[in-house]
């Protein structure tokens, strides 16, 4: 049959060790899911997942401190260069608090995810057995006590009306049953996809990584224990729009393949540099490709999924998604812009100006009208995507390092913020409506202070990481001659500050409602995650030198 034209690819295992660790860990995690009895599954899976992430992080650190040269490996599918390592480090570092949030069982009894049917069945079985015992006891004379207990169960039932006591108890029992432990392999797969996504040196790898990172996220979105309909709806929306956009990405890939006869980024750049081929293929492909990428990064007019999904998904998933997806997507955007389209930058940048402005303005203006905290943060993320785009468009070393830094800073802030959002709870799960947050500063000063700090970071107030990041990005953009954009960005920052402030106003300057939500005492996992996020936000604002130093002077291969 067809002779193999190329030799077998060589694999630099040292370079791709983090990816191998995470993806291999994901596979093993699936196996653990299959083999472990459900009682220990959750704990073992969490430990294992953390182990994998930390091991991956260590591998990244070892690699980046070893001074090993940047390489492309796996037949040019992956480029392990400075930015890739930085992004990997960022992703894995962000994954730690995300995983902790996902695994939390203290805020929501049994975790935030749909109950495991297996464990649930067992719990109800037990309940039934107890019921039977009680019934027997009642018949033999202990009726009063059991009746009282049943009554109590009724009162405590979540939506007690029309439900007998036993059912109420069963519901309580099911509330404490652990959620699906499948979230761990999902997260690992998504993470693996992200790692590959931002290091992919050809578009096909990028596309596949895109799907590998997206598919688990779609599923994770639909797994909320409370507000199931909303959660599933968000999953469907995310899925349909995500698949739609990835189809665009793919078509762009196909057109570029037609243009350059290769999907390697460097080849596309070369073809674009000196070719007589029709530019319509090149720019058509670029446009479609960018649509797909922008969607993932929830930029500008391609953001429509963001608020819905952020709101509907379980908050811990939102945290993971908001932080890590953005990092991965912008990693890819940076690479594509720099490596593949760096030579034609003057011909497409104008369009991206419009996109960036649209993103910033949409995020800020629509953010103003929101009444739900999660939606508000979602729109803020759209605005932030616009800021990030500024850095990504610069295609200069400064722009690159600024964007990388921004991603890291934004990621930690967001993770911590969503962790805090998950703490404010009403009778039926999280209370994310703005009005529920009134007077939080009085009721729970520590949580309110942390939220305030993170909000200020998002607004870009000095001494927070948000400011340093914005500063870096804006100076890079300004140095590259994007003065009008920077001005717009600054004005938008001011507008956006308004809705961050509104929340602060609500928390501190309003009186708490009588039947307002309670603030859960976070368990160790959530506490660690939030603390980590807040501390990093502060550190990057006050002493960003180490990270900036690392981000500085990185460059893409090819």
């Amino acid at each position: 049959m067809s002779p193999l034209t190329s030799a077998m690819p060589t694999i630099d295992y040292g370079a791709i060790a983090p990816v191998l660790i995470v993806l291999g860990g994901a596979c093993v995690s699936v196996l653990l899911e299959a083999l472990l009895p459900w009682r220990v599954r959750g704990r073992v899976q969490l430990g294992f997942t953390l182990l994998v992430v930390v091991a991956g992080l260590l591998a990244v650190i070892v690699r980046s401190t070893s001074g090993a040269p940047a390489v492309t490996t796996l037949a040019g599918a992956l480029a392990v260069d400075g930015p890739a390592l930085f992004l990997w480090g960022t992703l894995l570092a962000l994954a730690i608090p995300s995983v902790l949030l996902l695994a939390d069982r203290s805020v929501e009894p049994g975790g935030a995810f749909v109950a495991d049917p297996v464990a649930l069945g067992e719990a109800e079985e037990k309940e039934k057995a107890r019921e039977a015992r009680v019934a027997v006891g009642a018949r033999s004379g202990g009726g009063g006590r059991s009746r009282a207990r049943t009554g109590g169960g009724d009162g405590a039932g979540r939506d007690g009306a029309g439900r007998d006591g036993g059912r109420g108890r069963a519901l309580r029992a099911r509330d404490t049953v652990e959620g699906h432990t499948e979230i761990h392999p999902f997260v690992l797969f998504a993470l693996g996809g992200m790692l590959v996504f931002c290091a992919a040196d050809d578009l096909l790898t990028m596309f596949i990584a895109l799907e590998v990172l997206s598919l688990p996220l779609y599923l994770l979105c639909g797994l909320a224990r409370r507000k199931r309909l909303m959660s599933q709806e968000s999953a469907v929306k995310y899925f349909l729009l995500g698949a739609f956009s990835s189809a665009f990405f793919l078509y762009g890939l196909a057109l570029l393949y037609g243009y350059a006869d290769s999907v390697k980024l460097a080849d596309i750049s070369q073809a674009a540099a000196g070719s007589l081929r029709p530019d319509s293929l090149l720019f058509g492909g670029l446009a479609l490709l960018v649509v797909g990428l922008m969607f993932k990064a929830s930029v500008g007019p391609f953001h429509t999924w963001t608020p819905d999904v952020y709101q509907g998904a379980p908050t811990s998933v939102t945290a993971f998604m908001a932080a890590c997806t953005k990092v991965a997507a912008f990693g890819a955007i940076l690479r594509v812009f720099t490596v593949a389209f760096g030579s034609t930058v003057w011909e497409w940048r104008g369009v991206l100006w419009a996109v960036a402005i649209a993103s910033m303005v949409i995020g800020a203006v629509l953010g103003l009208t929101q009444t739900d905290v999660k939606r508000m943060i979602a729109y803020s993320s759209v605005a932030h995507a616009g800021f990030l785009l500024l850095g990504a468009m610069a295609i200069t070393p400064a722009g690159l390092s600024a964007t990388l830094f921004y991603l890291l800073a934004y990621g930690f802030t967001t993770v911590a913020l969503f962790g805090l959002v998950s703490l404010v709870r009403g009778p039926d799960g999280e209370a994310t409506h703005l009005s529920a947050w009134a007077g939080l500063g009085k009721r729970s000063p520590v949580v309110a202070a942390a939220v305030t700090f993170l909000m200020l970071a998002l607004a870009g107030i000095p001494l927070t990481s948000g400011f340093t990041a914005k500063f870096a990005v804006f100076s890079a953009a300004l140095a590259d001659g994007m003065t009008p954009l920077v001005i717009v960005a600054l004005v938008v920052s001011a507008v956006a500050a308004f809705f961050y402030l509104r929340l602060i106003v609500l928390m501190y300057f309003s009186e708490p409602a009588a039947d307002g939500p309670t603030v859960s005492v976070p368990g160790p996992f959530t506490t660690v995650a939030i603390t980590l996020g807040v501390v990093v936000t502060l550190l990057l604002g006050v002493v960003p030198t180490a990270v900036l130093g690392w981000a500085d002077g990185l460059s893409f291969l090819g």
Partner: protein, 438 residues
């Protein structure tokens, strides 16, 4: 020994065919298939009859050979009924969809070697594609559409369930089928059916790949919905399965498709594992036996042997329960064929890459690991608490833990002897209550 055509030779041969020759071949194969179908129906009834100590059809024509022709004609003159609830267009097109792929699959079956027809050198094969095996697989996949759409379009519960079952069954067994073919391809190094046959000149793959052959043979029966796997048409449960609402010629088409499929898969099995048109061993020593038109005899002989096995199975084995059947496919055939395939691939690569000593070392290590793994397997089923309890959800589904009341003792003793017969009837509602949550 006979000369073996080099790989790709048959292709070049057929590529030179003039169009009239192609037309002739198409016509011949078409007619042949019709005839074989008629013959098969008769053959089946006769053989089953014999197995059941009765004569079978023996009235129309010599030995009742014309019986199936009479049946066919009768079908044509039956009333054609289309239920009100049916989806018109799909109901109409489904039989065609099921019959066409059955015929098309025959295009790539090599019936014999190079011959001369009206002075034109050609091969006894309609066409030889570089992806011939895939055509066969594709055809069997497309055939499923006919069944599913027929059941769906009927607008009636039994056909719907029947078609679903049928589809589930076909696709389940297609996996095992496809996996077993891969082993053959591994050794033949080609997807062209002619090349595969040629590659077997030194030995049939049935000897080299016995596991694959067995898997293929079992899947073949599942794939064609034949007894003991004829669940889609389980009369006792689903009336007639997907073709309950069909009558007259449309029904005949389904019937035809089923038998053609049977013949097709038998021919494929012959091609892949039994050396196709090559003569069996002692005969193959006779020079000239694999040349000219003789191979047709070997080919159809082998195919007929498979067909006989089909009939034999039907006459011997009781119908399987649906869950047993799916378990067989998913939990036995697929894992076994995967492991087998990896084994074959490993051996094949190692044979070319490593020396014998290295192979022994690697094999020894593998053996040790396997033994170790075997020791780790628990002796008994996992403890009860470890098993997955039934699913409980919010949705209004009937309770899944309905216990079947125990049979009275006296009756049980009486029934014990006929257990097998009973099994087939115990699966009522296998489809309807299968709303698990996973």
């Amino acid at each position: 020994m006979n000369p073996v055509p080099p790989p790709g030779y048959t292709q070049s041969l057929i590529a030179d065919d003039p169009f009239w020759l192609t037309l002739i071949k198409v016509l011949v194969i078409f007619v042949l298939l019709m005839l074989i179908t008629l013959f098969m129906i008769w053959f089946e009834r006769r053989v089953v009859g014999r197995m059941q100590q009765r004569p079978g059809p023996n009235w129309n024509g010599p030995f009742g050979l014309l019986q199936s022709l009479a049946d066919g004609l009768k079908l044509a003159f039956k009333e054609d009924i289309r239920p009100v609830l049916a989806d018109k267009a799909v109901f109409f097109i489904a039989p065609v969809l099921s019959v066409v792929p059955a015929f098309v699959a025959w295009s790539v079956i090599p019936l014999g070697p190079e011959v001369s027809i009206f002075g034109e050198q050609t091969a006894l094969q309609l066409t030889d594609l570089p992806v011939g095996v895939l055509v066969v697989l594709a055809c069997s996949s497309i055939g499923v559409y006919g069944i599913v759409l027929a059941g769906w379009a009927s607008g009636s519960p039994y056909p719907l369930l029947g078609s679903l079952r049928s589809a589930a069954q076909v696709i389940s067994y297609e996996l095992a089928l496809g996996l077993s073919i891969i082993a053959v391809v591994l050794y033949a190094g080609s997807l062209s059916t002619a090349d595969i046959v040629a590659a077997q000149s030194t030995g049939w793959y049935v000897w080299l790949l016995p596991v694959s052959f067995m898997i293929f043979a079992v899947s073949m029966v599942g794939e064609t919905n034949r007894a003991p796997f004829d669940l889609p048409e389980a009369e006792s449960e689903l009336v007639g399965g997907f073709h309950t609402e069909y009558s007259s010629l449309k029904f005949a088409l389904f019937f035809l498709a089923e038998y053609v499929n049977m013949v097709t898969l038998s021919a494929v099995a012959t091609t892949l594992f039994l050396g196709g048109w090559m003569a069996p061993w002692p005969l193959s020593l006779i020079p000239g036996v694999n040349e000219g038109w003789w191979p047709l005899l070997w080919f159809f002989g082998k195919t007929l042997a498979f067909l006989f096995v089909y009939v034999w199975l039907r006459g011997t084995l009781p119908r399987q329960r649906y869950d047993q059947f799916m378990r067989l496919g998913w939990k036995l055939l697929i894992p076994v064929s995967l492991v087998w395939l990896m084994l074959v691939a490993t051996l094949r690569v190692l044979r070319t890459e490593l020396t014998t000593g290295q192979i022994l070392v690697v094999g020894g290590i593998a053996l040790v690991i396997l033994v170790g793994a075997a020791l780790l397997i628990p002796d008994q089923a996992p403890p009860e608490e470890d098993k997955e309890p039934p699913v409980i959800t919010d949705y209004p589904v009937p309770p899944l833990d309905l216990a079947v009341p125990e049979t009275p003792k006296r009756r049980r003793r009486a029934v014990a002897g006929k257990r097998d017969d009973q099994q087939a009837t115990e699966t009522v509602g296998a489809g309807t209550s299968g709303e698990g949550d996973r």
